[in-house]
Symmetry: C2
Subunit: 325 residues, 2 copies
């Protein structure tokens, strides 16, 4: 089969003869219908996580095969799937935090080939069937939208706080929509007029970063910049005793300027790391059309053109790039 592989030589290439995956006992083989390119894919290509193998973790697909002794009724179903594949036995799994499993593999990110291929595998327990009325273009956003909903889980919204979503990229524009559903005064701050125009369409306040005063007056700042400089900006925006939700992960790079964390101490800021989120909430929001994802699709490409597509996704004017078989 064909697969988009980041190899040991730190090269991204399309392998037309990658070995077909075999399902484990409790696993499904899935044929993706749509795949989404995420900033994490791009960071992996810069060395983040030290991952090699098939990239990709955002998908909607059809179950083609299941492992021995697994329920055959999954076959033919259209599914999305959580990306952490867990042991079920460690302290984290037993403690109710399986997404933090000590022995996990993560689809296309850690220890497990991803979905940018003709076929890939996931444990059956990771799968959620997609309701018929949620089409592929919507369903493929379940994973990043869940990551946006995770923020809501991690925060307590009291009063009517001032919230800044920092970054107008793939994740920022999802987070801006999700946060706007809360009892909060939300604005999205970014660098790209054309991307912020989407906020206008959604009725979400927005500002260009260059026009924003750094007044340390925001109760909550969500860093979705995907940039090493995002945290510094967030620390200048958030009020003393405020909260910063950190979504950005960047590959360690000597070129990145060191971050001065002393404002965290001086202003007693809380910095909250935030990763994967609840698929059921995301799929429900997509099902109820509470979030506009179609406007985020900048480009579509065939998996066979995946190398070019990932280069395109790294351009500043691009939001979401979708891959198709």
């Amino acid at each position: 089969m064909q697969a988009l592989v980041f190899d040991a030589d730190n090269k991204l290439k399309l392998d037309p003869n990658y070995q077909d995956p075999q399902p484990g006992v409790d696993e499904a083989v899935i044929r993706p219908l749509r795949m989404g390119v995420c900033a994490t894919d791009l960071e992996i290509c810069r060395g983040y996580m030290g991952f090699t193998g098939v990239l990709g973790h955002e998908f909607v697909g059809v179950v083609e095969q299941v492992g021995k002794k697994s329920a055959k009724d999954w076959i033919g179903k259209r599914v999305v799937g959580t990306i952490n594949c867990v042991c079920g036995k460690c302290d984290m799994c037993r403690g109710g935090l399986p997404e933090h499993c000590r022995d996990r593999t993560v689809l296309g990110i850690a220890g497990r080939d991803g979905c940018f291929a003709d076929l890939f595998t996931l444990p059956l327990r990771n799968l959620l069937e997609v309701p018929e009325h949620v089409d592929d273009d919507h369903a493929v956003f379940t994973e990043p939208l869940a990551a946006a909903y995770q923020i809501v889980r991690q925060l307590t919204i009291e009063g009517r706080p001032f919230v800044t979503v920092l970054g107008d990229g793939r994740l920022g524009l999802l987070c801006a929509q999700v946060m706007s559903q809360l009892n909060a005064t939300v604005r999205c701050v970014g660098k790209h007029t054309d991307k912020l125009a989407l906020c206008e369409k959604w009725g979400v306040k927005h500002r260009l970063l260059e026009d924003v005063g750094m007044r340390a007056d925001q109760d909550i700042v969500v860093d979705c910049t995907g940039s090493a400089s995002g945290l510094g900006t967030a620390m200048r925006m958030v009020r003393p005793r405020g909260k910063i939700v950190l979504k950005t992960t960047v590959a360690p790079n000597a070129k990145n300027p060191p971050v001065d964390l002393s404002p965290l101490v001086v202003h007693e800021i809380q910095l909250i790391g935030s990763r994967c989120g609840p698929f059921t909430e995301a799929l429900s929001a997509l099902s109820q059309q509470k979030v506009d994802v179609l406007s985020l699709i900048s480009r579509r490409a065939k998996l066979a053109d995946g190398v070019d597509a990932l280069n395109t996704a790294a351009q500043p004017d691009i939001v979401k790039v979708l891959l198709e078989p």
Copy 2:
């Protein structure tokens, strides 16, 4: 009067002819009896906060004079004092967070001469009278002990969490004692056998850093290392979804290795900045002898020998250096 000054040429010197301070309308002039050297003083001498002027913010002293129209009955009282001098008018002051006043000056740290002098000033509302049975050697620890109690205010202790206090210096040894009063399993982890021996005396668990496995199994890690590398160690010790309390502030330095913050996101760690704390609780703890501070005193010096004393305080085997008039 004599004063220990960090000047615009980035030099620490004893000025024998520094101008006597004049009290503002609501201020007291205080003659310090004991002064404590803090890691922040040492960081300021490396450029932290860009402060110039008289150093020092830990003291116990006697009120010698008060401003016009101020209550004369303060004169002659033995006092400690909070270090943030606030406006009372800004959004932070009005919102009940005066220690985060937008227009504050901070004793010996920002915009206000400190206490390493024959005399210095503080607003009267910053002062607390020291009970007679709390001697000077105890009272001078009120400020750093309050900073340790601040951690307790910022955390919710549920169940019986595993807590590591990282760092066996001035602040770490105070935090270890304070945290041990909670319903928690507390250990102090440091690099110095002789300092950790104090924990043995107090019945607080302790380990050398080199003997500690980085198992990501601590519910809470308090970074009191005062070192740029402390946070990285804390991130390896804390469990996923755990909390790191950050007490360390270091002067920005190109020599410090950049901190990779992606573990915060991947493990959804909360990083909580923590600064000044409640003087009443600290003074009460000293009054009830709930904390041993005398064992922390490594050296005593005259203010006139302050330059040497600060150099001494920077030595790894030294805990607390006290200055006397």
